[in-house]
């Protein structure tokens, strides 16, 4: 399970990074979302993955670390708010500048290729 989990996180991070480096705001926003998903998954696993453990500490039995769960909840809330903000910001930038390039430039060489 560990390797599957690690590969998922890694692929999400790689896709997120690639999209963040794109030139237009929409792929950048999607990239940031993917990055935050990857980070949430990573945070969730940071205390080590436990299978069949109790959700809450209950006697001496095997239990899941509760701290990452609390942290990932905080991270999800903050990430959600930030994504909402950046979507609105990207739309404002589109209407003020007239195009959706992150630098606000009209067009670049090779930009209009199909």
């Amino acid at each position: 399970m560990e390797s599957l989990y690690a590969i998922t996180t890694g692929v999400l991070t790689a896709c997120g990074l690639y999209l963040v480096l794109r030139g237009r705001t929409f792929p950048v926003v999607v990239g940031l979302t993917l990055l935050s998903y990857a980070v949430n998954l990573f945070l969730f696993s940071m205390g080590g993955l436990t299978t069949d453990g109790a959700a809450i500490l209950d006697g001496p039995s095997d239990y899941a670390d509760p701290l990452p769960q609390a942290l990932v909840l905080t991270a999800i809330v903050i990430g959600f708010a930030m994504t909402a903000f950046v979507v609105i910001l990207a739309m404002r930038a589109r209407s003020e500048v007239g195009n959706d390039h992150v630098d606000g430039r009209r067009s670049e060489d090779g930009e209009d290729r199909p």
């Binding site: 940031l32 935050s36 990573f42 945070l43 903050i78 903000f85 950046v86 930038a93 992150v102 606000g104």
Partner: protein, 501 residues
Amino acid sequence: MQHLIVLPVVLPLVAGLLLLYRRQGALRIKRLVGVIATALLVAVGVALVARAAGGEVSYYALGGWQPPFGIVLVLDRLSALMVLLTAVLALGAVVFACAGDDERGSNFHGLFQWQLMGINGAFLTGDLFNLFVFFEVLLLASYALLMHGGGKARIQAGVHYVVLNLAGSSLFLIAVGVLYGATGTLNMADMAARLSELPAERAGLVTAGGLMLLVVFGLKAAILPLYFWLPRAYAAAPAPVAALFAIMTKVGIYAILRVYSLVFGAPAGELANLEQAWVWWLSLGTLVAAGVGVLAARDLRLLVAYLVLVSVGTLLAGIGMGSPAAVSALLYYLIHTTLITGGLFLLAELIGLQRGKAGTRLVRGRPLRQGGWLAGLFFIGAVAVAGLPPLSGAIGKALLLDAAEGGQRAWLWPIVLGTGLCALIALSRAGSTLFWRSQGDILGHALPRRQWFGVAWLLGAAPLLVVLAGPVSDYTRATAEQLATPEVMINALINDAGDTP
């Protein structure tokens, strides 16, 4: 006053909530609430410094959960100093904003208070994840403040600023996750205690986590390869916001200083000071790049933004040297540079207001109505920020240059002095263009008294820091010694019960 430590967070929070009362209108009341809350924050800052000056480390366990299990706010000399500095800077900025900048968009004063809450929280917290949360609070408020009033330039600078900081936040979370996985704790003092008995196979993980944190803090502090967002964002922000942003880069510098002196301090064994070589060389690079930027700037606001970058490079060089003498010098320079660059942003706005269409661009424009006073203030600010005697910049730089040892001198002295010369050339060129190369009629209006107060309050720090140089440098020296002995804080937090509410 056992609840004193939490006041710098709670006071702006409550004030910000009160200011939500109505979106528009009620401007007089809102201004009154904003200014009173900020003035109270100055009083709280003074009380905190008075309490921390004795050298005792005290903490406030939120919810009564004892460290290392709960989240703590920690008060030592460094955090008290930073809280007071923030409040003093904010008072000048908020009074300046009351002259009319707060009317250009909605809810300026509320956002301003929440930004203060985030900054103060970041200075006080003793928990790594809590530091992330307060970073997000201050960033979210700063996103909205940066775009206060709208306009094409602000939106464009805002897109870069927001996207970069969101990517930085993701990296912060990954670094926190790695460090938690390797050490099993998030409390910084507890992490420091556990690092001293870390199993050897986890040293690589902790190094990776520690250096990722350096990237995040370097992005906030605007260190060499990560500074490109800063000049544009600071030049586009409204003047009072840009003045408050003068403390934002210092949040990054504070975080580097705190995390690497406490968690990766001397007790961490082989992992001690893992940031030092990186910070040292990158700070010198930042200084060179900032010197070039200062000379190339064609707008007064952009020029001041690059001067912020010069100060960042100088401060980071102090961290790169790492000795207590260097840290003491950098803290003195930090107080000076935060207040002076904040004041210069406000002054640039005043000059731009009286020059009509030319604004702050360094071209021939209309003569200024109150040119004499503005030129006098500009002269004081320029002398202070370029580091010429007799004002505070010279003392700060002299302390820092004196702290360099052996081979460091060969690098630091020419670069710092050369950047100072660049700043001097650029500022004298800007001043002579702004005040002497003018044509046409005087059109500008006389400026409101609140704006003069804001500028004078911040630039007044330059002579004041010279008069009080003795006590201030005594305090910064004691602070540097406290930072050099992290054992004191670890003992205060982990091994005994301090005062709990």
